[in-house]
Amino acid sequence: MSVGDILFWIVGLMTALCAVMVVVTQHIVRCAIWLLFTLAGTAGLFFLLGLDFLGATQLFVYVGGTLVLVIFGVMLTATGPFLQLRAGAGEWAIAIIVGLLLYGLIALSWLFADWSKLPESALPDDPRQMYHTEQLGRALLGDTSVQPASELAGVPGSLGAADKASGKLQEPPKRQASAFLLPFEIVSVHLLVVLIGAAYLARAKRKRVVVAPRESL
């Protein structure tokens, strides 16, 4: 076990512990802090795996952006009924079912993935061979020539059936080129809807004033 592996285990276990604490903590600010540690730990895992861009984005978007808002909201609502969060039995049941389903999905995809296709090390020896931000952006927009070995990552349509026999990566057919474009657009529209909704909820609620016709100067 290399130092990287040991670090990965330590960070991973701590992240998992923080995630459990998010669920069992009842005080809302402490809960938000545990969530902060969980998200930061995930970013740390990304960095340990050599995914700099993903790690920085995780910090930027989740840890930096969302949680500032969470804490901001918490401070303004941390009185009375919102201070202690207590989940009812029904909520626990739904949460456990959803959690188990998600866990099952992850476990199944882990079990059925063909790990022999994975390269020996996640990091190529030559740093120039690594996937750069530009390639990531092009892959996102559906440029299939730059997509990484992505059967494990679940990218739609990057490995054909014929390729599995030879075990080598081939150019995927052009027909499936728009790999991430549609989900990307859906997320964008979703965010827009959230923004509009937030603006609608937070708008100043004024009484309607009947505007008298303006007399001419």
Binding site: A40, L59, V63, I71
Partner: protein, 371 residues
Amino acid sequence: MDWLTIGLIIFVISWLQILCAYLIYLERKVAAWVQDRKGPNRVGPWGLFQPIADGLKFLFKEQVVPAHVHRFLYILAPSIAVITTMLAFAVVPFGPTDVPDPRQKRFIIAPNLDIGLLFIFAIASLNVYSIILGGWASNNKYSLLGSLRSAAQIISYEIPLALSVLGVIVLVGSLNLEHLLNEQARLGIGGWLIWYQPLGWLLFFASALAESNRLPFDLPEAEQELVGGYHTEYSGMKFAMFFLGEYTHVTTVSLLMVILYFGGWHFPFVAEFNANYPGATGVKVLVLWTKASLVILVIMLLRWTLPRFRFDQLMHLAWMGLVPLSLLNLLSVMIVRHWSLSPWLLLPCSVIILTAIPLLHRWKSRQLDWA
């Protein structure tokens, strides 16, 4: 295990702590000079050992944790302040990175990180947690007020900060700090990005001051209004850690500004791109730190020159001043890049935007007053 990196990290952390101690000394001297006083002058010649005495005092002070605070978060907050600023420093080159043997002379902890700038912004955006948590955990009205102000301030100023640097990124086409620096050095003094991005630089300067809570943007602390703001309840080493974080942030920002806009270690005739006379590396390091020191000095002089903003002025400046200006700046860079025009066009462009928009704004507001 890379022992060189570990040694470098230990060296950089020690160096930053000494530097921060002496920056505080410098700040007190500058303040004294501005206010026609003498400043620290008792410990050692010209008070030069004052930072050491202060440091020892902080270390040996009793570690008081007030009874009414949230213990864990109270201790966590100053740690976050130090950790985030130190982490951000990991990708900032503090010397030339194109030296012949990088195994022997390395001036960056994490070399060749393609997303250097993004990493700095991502880490620096976490710094706000130290203030929010410190203010909340202190369980004190003044602290909470200071931290709430700071949350609004820092979130608002992150946007113009990132937008102003986007101009540089689009112009050079890289997020890699070393690449940005070497590109400028290669083109000589005409390649310094300050010629193409004067407006971007001003916006960056203003937003960076706000991000590091320096005057005129020090609303989270605001001694006169908030008894110290978020660090009212802190004493001893925990108090010192907040300031270690702040001064490390100032150092990082100054180095970043020099690297992004003033050609880094490049200086005509003294430290050219292909200079390889004996001792060239040392001269380059010296040039870089001299430039950064000048920026730090300007930041300190600003502190004792400008009054603090009122809160509504602060928000007005960010959202109605800096954000539109930085968007226009970005637009001009994009136009120049798209049609491959001469980048020198950006200089008049910046000047026009900087003069026309406030005039327009003034004319508009006067019209509204009249109506």
